[in-house]
Symmetry: C2
Subunit: 336 residues, 2 copies
DNA sequence: GAAAGTTGATGAATCGATTCAGGCAGGTTT
DNA sequence: AAACCTGCCTGAATCGATTCATCAACTTTC
């Protein structure tokens, strides 16, 4: 029932070696053989068995992508970029969403190791360097996505989160805001820390005194944003901040939603809001949301390109690619 | 360098057959052997080679998921549901996003066929029955997702789009709307047709005369929604509809955005808007968006469960699972 | 015209896990 | 005591594509 390379060889009247050569190095085979083999493949509906190929040749045609938060459109765009590049090379993407859960992260790393993927892209949650080290020893290259590799042991493709945080808060300060609440968490996610650090830098460098307080969230979903917003509103009025910097757009949308529903604080009159990522929904929000844009597709494309290069050349040394973020101003941060 | 089952056998002082048995049927092996083998695996850091396993045993540990529109949070939720179920069975998901492109659809079907995935979930764009038929002949089960299988040749998991369309328009009519524009396309996507059909049914059954017109879009993104909105606004005022039924929430958000920016038509006072899918961003929109909710995670979970069952039992017959949609009323369709 | 080189094809060995016919030890049945 | 189980283990054969040493046929070169 299943058609193997042997059947093709028989039909074409050549040896299996020749069929394999037609498939993999057609230029080293006579035109005649290429023809006959191609026709046989067509006739029999032969499809290459990737498992056998992978076993013998040791080359995989899949790349794993472990994502921190699959519900975040930002990561979808990154995946889309990686996908575009992958299909160019005939490579498919094994997708895993960890939802900020260490158990799931480990599970996917195990799964992808068994699969012997060609390479791994990962937006990590926990500390994965030890694990990635081990994968590397097994010949699986890994590239960190949306996260700078602190110790430089792995390649990474990211956006400068510190600069992004600074841009956001500088913009708020220019708009006349003086009491800024940074909303985000958990703080074991590196990006969250970096964005906050950038915010603090901007506040310290400001010509006027600016207060940056932290409103911690358990995760970075719309719901967490709504909850954080409710907590802020519940304060006595004179303790209200005049600007919110959300660690990502999902949080920002949630914050916006709870403020709009409540109605006592007007955006941007009483309070400005800025997010991070510039997801497509930011522009469609109740009050169009200012944000710090990351070149998401480019991040995915670049990461995939790098991981393939590293897979091809095990000697290659790790390199950090850092894109610059971009401030996108919309209604939610108009000066009062 | 790489550790094989042979190395484990050597270290544990047993045969390779026994190691394999420990891995796959530990209850048929003495406790002592299980112990020694487990320890050897631990010591050597052995990881099973999935390619060899797949080649010999013919069982795959991946399932392919071909998605119509990766930027749509609805499909992300479906994938998330499938993922949850998949990890329970130690299965990873090969992910492909076609973006309503026939070439990409074919590409992924080819790729997944070579991979000999255990099964395939697909939200199809073109007519894929012939292709799926062929996959089935090769022992790869396929389940249609978010799409009823017209001829019943394949299992499917979907929501009744006709009922959903009817619910949406009945709701609009109850709110006093009489001139409804259905915004969506392309019409070779089945769901679009069904939703429109449901809308027409509701209009015909109404006690009052109701007009349903069609505003066709090239795709169903936020941008297409914005463009369609602009076209509607450009009409002479007396030709404006008093309600919009968008074929999905992305379109609805785009429509809303262009109307809000323009400012001449107030939502919901002059014009009501309802979408489809109830993505998480619908609630956070400029005017919180009414929508027809689909149980997205449940769809993904169910589809994966079914495809695994079919993969296990090639005799199993196709079954159609149809969930009922649910009307979610928010501000965008308040009666005037 | 012999030696050397080129081109293209061959087919056995190989990757690593699984499978299964067969074997062995010790216990049970008749 | 012979026949028969039972439980557990062994190791060679196998899956299908790739690789590579080897060979045949043909060209060049001196």
């Amino acid at each position: 029932m299943p058609v193997s390379i042997r059947d093709v060889a028989l039909r074409a009247g050549v040896s299996v070696g020749t069929v394999s050569n037609v498939l993999n190095r057609p230029d080293e085979v006579s035109a005649d053989s290429v023809d006959r083999v191609s026709r046989a493949i067509e006739d029999l509906g032969y499809v290459r068995n990737d498992a056998a190929r992978k076993l013998r040749a040791g080359v995989s045609t899949t790349v794993g992508f472990v994502v921190l938060d699959g519900q975040n459109p930002f990561y979808n765009d990154v995946v889309r970029g990686a996908e575009d590049e992958a299909t160019k090379h005939g490579i498919a993407i094994l997708y895993g969403n960890t939802d900020e859960d260490l158990g799931r992260e480990k599970l996917y790393l195990d799964l992808f190791e068994e699969q012997q993927v060609r390479g791994l892209l990962i937006a990590p949650y926990g500390d994965v360097t030890a694990r990635l080290q081990r994968l590397r020893a097994r010949g699986i290259a890994a590239v960190l996505v949306d996260r700078f590799s602190g110790d430089g042991r792995f390649s990474s493709v990211s956006v400068d989160s510190v600069v992004g945080g600074r841009m956001a808060v500088e913009h708020l300060i220019e708009g006349g805001r003086r009491h800024i609440a940074f909303v985000g968490g958990p703080f074991d996610i590196r990006q969250v820390n970096d964005r906050l650090a950038g915010a603090r830098v901007a506040a310290e460098n400001a010509a006027v005194p600016v207060e940056v307080e932290v409103v911690a969230t358990a995760a970075m979903t719309v719901e967490d944003g709504v909850a954080a917003g409710a907590r802020i509103i519940a304060r006595p009025r004179r303790e209200w901040p005049d600007a919110l910097f959300a660690a990502n757009d999902l949080l920002a949308l949630g914050l916006l939603q709870s403020l709009v529903v409540d109605g006592r604080m007007l955006v941007p009159h009483d309070i400005a809001i800025i997010g991070f990522d510039d997801i497509p929904f930011a522009a469609a929000a109740a009050v169009p949301l200012s944000s710090i844009r990351q070149p998401s597709r480019m991040i995915g494309r670049t990461a995939l390109r790098i991981v393939l290069e590293e897979a091809a050349d095990s000697e290659s040394i790790a390199r950090q690619t850092v894109f610059q973020p971009e401030l996108v101003v919309r209604a939610s941060t108009l000066p009062r």
